[in-house]
């Protein structure tokens, strides 16, 4: 009978990841996930060293903007932009080009390298494709930012068109583990999302896919999500923490405890050592003053400033936090 030995667990994980260049199994990750709280610092430290070894100390900074707000026909239970729940978010048309450019310029002024345009839709029609491609061209003309976008479920033709017209990264989160997804969305399937993620990879765009912690899933389902994401080999994994929105089905969910958030961040890093692991929405209300701990537990990227429909930590505060942590902001490296 094997004796449970946390020191051995951590040492084995360190050897596998830092010396052998291997990957954790689900069984190993589960054991690490269940380490007592007094080992959380050691777990975070291991994740931080894995981040430094595989990714370096730079932090990738991104700005995001809503290209179309509200009025989404899908019923993702966490989302205030769904038209199903009668939330306080009023639907808008497509963002005017001057506002879009202002958003891009605010992002560029922060030193960010990425700018993501997100539309609240099931999938794009021709008019939306034209709008986002015009936006991408405008941003490329006026800034040095790389443009990413999030338009929902794609066809192969749409994915190819985006890739061929300057969109370098496409976001489509799995959102939750396959086993939990039916509890948080009924209008499309987890497989729909998986298929779009695969299409993105096949057409040459970088894939950005992550999820939301705190939807009501179990700890095991968080690991299930991490391993499912790892199968996709995404370039970037945004980690969002649920901000329970009024009038949505998840409005009464509890906020994830900060220690649990740090534990989950560390595990995602250990499962995906070389991905860009990005602080997404909800870090302010979940972690508050402990946000910098996440940056020393595996996070190596963040969305700066405001989000799609809610406000975030000020850009200056984010940059000050990175400066205090002595983590340089990744700079643009365009070939002229």
């Amino acid at each position: 009978m094997t004796t449970w030995d946390p020191e051995r667990l951590l040492a084995d994980a360190e050897r596998r990841l830092l010396e052998e260049g291997g990957r954790l199994t689900m069984a190993e990750a589960k054991e690490l996930q269940e380490l007592p709280d007094l080992y959380l610092g050691r777990l975070a430290d291991l994740a931080h060293r894995v981040r430094l070894r595989y990714c370096g100390d730079e932090v990738e900074v991104e700005g995001i903007v809503s290209g179309k707000t509200g009025g989404c026909p899908e019923d993702c239970h966490f989302c205030s932009q769904s038209s199903v729940f009668g939330t306080e978010v009023a639907p808008t048309g497509y963002i005017p080009y001057d506002q879009l450019l202002r958003a891009a310029e605010e992002t560029a002024a922060s030193g960010a390298t990425e700018f993501c345009i997100v539309y609240a839709v099931r999938g794009p029609d021709r008019r939306l494709m034209d709008h986002v491609l015009e936006c991408a061209e405008l941003v490329h003309r006026q800034t040095d930012l790389d443009v990413a976008c999030s338009l929902g479920i794609l066809t192969r033709e749409q994915a190819l068109e985006l890739a061929e017209n300057g969109v370098h990264r496409y976001n489509h989160n799995l959102e939750a583990a396959k086993s939990y997804f039916p509890r948080i969305c009924t209008t499309h399937s987890w497989e729909d999302r998986w298929d779009t993620c695969q299409l993105v990879r096949e057409t040459g765009m970088e894939l950005c896919s992550g999820g939301i912690i705190g939807l009501g899933e179990t700890r095991e389902q968080r690991l299930e999500l991490a391993f499912q994401l790892a199968e996709l080999s995404p370039h970037e994994v945004p980690m969002n923490f649920l901000n329970p929105r009024p009038s949505t089905p998840l409005s009464d969910n509890s906020i994830v405890e900060p220690e649990e958030a740090i534990r989950t961040i560390a595990l995602f890093r250990l499962v995906m050592p070389s991905t860009v692991l990005r602080y997404g929405g909800g870090r302010e209300i979940t972690l508050g003053d402990l946000q910098r701990m996440g940056l020393e537990a595996g996070i190596n990227a963040l969305i700066t400033g405001n989000y799609l429909t809610t406000l975030g930590q000020e850009i200056e505060d984010d940059l000050a936090m990175l400066s205090e942590l002595r983590m340089p902001v990744k700079t643009v490296s365009k070939v002229l």
Binding site: E88, P246, N306, Y307, I315
Partner: protein, 72 residues
């Protein structure tokens, strides 16, 4: 200079005359929400959040406002 008088709660849109508890203030993320209702007429605002601020528009009042959330 006095602040403009408001008649409706910018968080929940209810009349301030009988506004005892604000549903818009009771959820955990309330401090990070832009104003979503017009203080003059109570209509839901269309709000465009940008990285450094947000812009809101009241269609009935035909009024726009711009707010910065960055110190610069």
């Amino acid at each position: 200079m006095t602040a403009p008088k408001r008649f409706f709660c910018p968080r929940c849109g209810r009349s301030l005359a009988d506004h005892h508890a604000c549903a818009g203030e009771s959820h955990p993320g309330a401090a990070l929400d832009p104003s979503r209702f017009c203080g003059d007429c109570g209509a839901r605002l269309t709000v465009q959040v940008l990285p450094g601020g947000y812009e809101s528009k009241c269609l009935p009042c035909e009024r726009r406002a711009r707010f910065a959330t960055t110190a610069r």
